[in-house]
């Protein structure tokens, strides 16, 4: 865990050092749907873009204050030169209104050596959409080939997918062990594990995870029966503030599983490797990524999925974490909340903002929620 904590404590220094150590170019992939495997197969290092911890300064000249934390933080980092170690960026601009601003800002103020705008369909009603998605991925692959001057073979893409699938299965194993041994890791540590996967080369991360899993399998933990199990849900694109996760646990609750992007959503469902690898990546994006407000799926309700996860884990309630000014989550949330009310599921919403967080207010909300589901 110490290596993982080191990586996540200063991702800027880690990724800059990584570039030097590996002597490879770094491609920043904006969360949440960029298929990193294609970047990896081009012998580049894909890194998922993160929200920094510093207040936004110069970035205010480029994005409005009513954009979400990661949007403002990323633009601020870029225009201040904090991301100079990145050689290129990939933005999937269909996932939210704010993501559409990035390519213009980057082109004008950062001038990256490589930039790709992905235009993956937000809905999947049939084959025409699948063809469109596939063409987008082909165009993404071609743009990387043009950038590196090297062709990406099917074999190299399959190999990258295998490495990524291995990472997914190892992370799934970490979650399985946590479910079986609640409390074996703090919720914050689990988030650090997922986040480090987004920053580290997957081969290196797989080695770390293999060691971590072995240690977790051997370790026994005291039963945590008196603690109330809760499932955090939401917090799209960015890390949930660690203080909130600590508060949840300090207040007598425990997190056996989650439905967070920097959590179970990142590694859910492997890519099916039968046949054409690009087809397989398109298939995962269209049909196998967990339901999310950035994708239009109308036959499954995100609330039902969250409730299932809660019940599968024998949890007592759901903690929605909503990033302030996150348009997809904000639009979906009323429907989500109605579903919770309809099914009689205890749920509380915590709002998170980049620079400001009233932890006392959050504490009162979480403590009241724990009292409510704990029968006080």
């Amino acid at each position: 865990m110490s290596k993982i904590a080191e990586v996540t404590s200063d991702p800027y220094a880690y990724v800059a050092g990584l570039k030097e150590r590996k002597n490879k170019k770094i491609i920043g992939c904006f969360p949440m749907h960029v298929p990193e495997e294609i970047v990896h197969a081009a012998d580049l290092i894909p890194v998922v873009i993160w929200r920094g911890n510093e207040p936004v300064t110069w970035g205010h000249a480029h994005v409005p204050p009513y954009d979400c934390g990661i949007t403002r933080s990323f633009v601020d980092d870029a225009v201040r030169g904090k991301l100079s170690f990145m050689d290129g960026f990939v933005f999937h601009i269909r996932q939210c209104l704010q993501a559409g601003e990035f390519p213009f800002i980057m082109e004008r103020h950062f001038k990256p050596a490589y930039q790709k705008v992905l235009y993956l369909p937000a809905i999947y009603p049939g084959d025409a959409v699948r063809d469109f998605a596939l063409k987008e991925l082909e165009s993404f692959k071609t743009s990387l080939e043009d950038f590196t001057g090297e062709k990406i073979s099917d074999d190299s893409l399959k190999k990258s997918i295998e490495i990524y699938n291995k990472n997914r299965s190892l992370m799934e194993r970490v979650y399985e062990i946590r479910r079986a041994k609640p409390g074996i890791l703090k919720a914050k540590e689990v988030m650090q594990i997922v986040w480090s996967s987004m920053l580290m080369p997957k081969e290196d991360h797989n080695e770390l995870l293999t060691e971590l899993v072995k240690g977790m399998e051997e370790k026994s933990v005291k039963a945590q029966k008196e603690r109330i199990k809760v499932i955090p849900v939401g917090c799209l694109c960015q890390t949930l503030q660690f203080d909130i996760l600590d508060l949840i646990e300090d207040l007598g609750m425990i997190v056996p599983d989650d439905d967070l992007y920097i959590g179970s959503r990142y590694f859910a469902n492997p890519v099916n490797l039968n046949g054409n690898p690009l087809n397989a990546l398109a298939d995962r994006y269209l049909t196998k990524t967990p339901l999310c407000p950035t994708k239009g799926v109308w036959d499954i309700h995100w609330g039902d999925e969250a409730i299932k996860k809660m019940r599968d884990n024998d949890a007592k309630g759901i903690i929605s974490v909503r990033v302030k000014y996150c348009p997809p989550h904000t639009c979906y949330y009323p429907d989500f909340r109605s579903k919770m009310a309809e099914k009689g599921v205890p749920e509380v919403m915590i709002e998170m903002e980049h620079e400001i967080i009233s932890l006392e207010g959050v504490k009162t909300r979480l403590q009241s929620f724990a009292e409510t589901i704990g029968g006080v």
Binding site: T364, S368, E371, V376
Partner: protein, 263 residues
């Protein structure tokens, strides 16, 4: 004589309630919290003990609640003010299903289900808009004592809109309204209606279920109470001393925990 104590350390005021073994209020105390919550809790408990003719050794269980609940050194446990307001309101008005609590620095709407338990709640905590502190600042801007704000509401003759709910901007707006020649009473009524609009938004999130109790210091302002009643189109039940409902609830929970321990 074994008694239990509930202490509600709020951002503006600290309240203490002492209950006897039958759940009867023996005494209560309300004082300003100041900047030293630990000292305020201690002093408030001492005041309430003195009023009841009791001494520290008579206390069998103390429960802290409120914004400064962690600062009650005498407390055996702490519970949030949301749970305590629900429990206190339900004891006073068993038919209650919704509590509107407007305290010094935050406001809450609490949905109550079976056995006086909280089923849903919302609270504003980002700023002091629409809270007791907001009213204090508005009273200063109007150059009246806060206790006069309620009466001013009923003396209003003309409708004046106070659109901003930011304490700082609303203060500027009040000054502008004065400059335009509006009367104090009309502005005071506009302020009460602005608070009611904000509360209505929170009530909408929890869902209005009658009966509705209003607690917290702002419930002493009859103008705000009336403005909320008009907005939610139902009567509010206001306890004789709305400011101690949280401390009362804390004392009830203390009493339950004592029974469990003894049982």
């Amino acid at each position: 004589m074994a008694v239990v104590v509930g202490v509600d350390v709020g951002s503006l005021c600290t309240k203490t309630v002492i209950l006897d073994g039958d759940g009867k209020i023996l005494s209560y105390d309300i004082m300003r919290s100041g900047h030293y919550y630990k000292g305020a809790a201690k002093e408030s408990i001492e005041n309430a003990l003195k009023s009841a003719g009791l001494k520290k050794g008579d206390i069998s269980y103390t429960l802290g609640t409120g914004y400064g609940r962690g600062a009650v050194a005498e407390a055996d446990a702490e519970v949030t003010e949301i749970t305590c307001h629900a429990r206190g309101a339900a004891r006073l008005f068993p038919e209650v299903h919704t509590v509107i609590d407007i305290g010094g620095q935050d406001s809450k709407v609490i949905g109550i289900g079976e056995n006086s338990r909280v089923v849903n709640f919302v609270m504003n905590d980002k700023c002091a808009a629409g809270t007791g502190r907001f009213l204090e600042v508005m009273a200063l801007a109007l150059s009246v004592d806060i206790s006069e704000m309620g009466d001013l509401f009923f003396a209003s003759k003309e409708k004046v809109d106070v659109s901003s709910m930011c304490t700082v901007f609303a203060e500027s707006e009040v000054i502008s309204l004065f400059a335009r020649g509006h009367k104090k009473a009309d502005i005071a009524a506009g302020i009460a209606h602005a608070i009611a609009r904000r509360i209505m938004g929170m009530v909408g999130q929890v869902g209005l279920r009658e009966k509705v109790v209003m607690s917290g210091g702002v419930a002493k302002n009859a103008g705000v109470v009336r403005a909320i009643e008009e907005r939610i189109e139902t009567s509010l039940l206001v306890p004789y001393e709305p400011q101690i409902v949280g401390a009362f609830g804390a004392a009830i929970i203390a009493s339950e925990r004592m029974s469990t321990t003894i049982g």
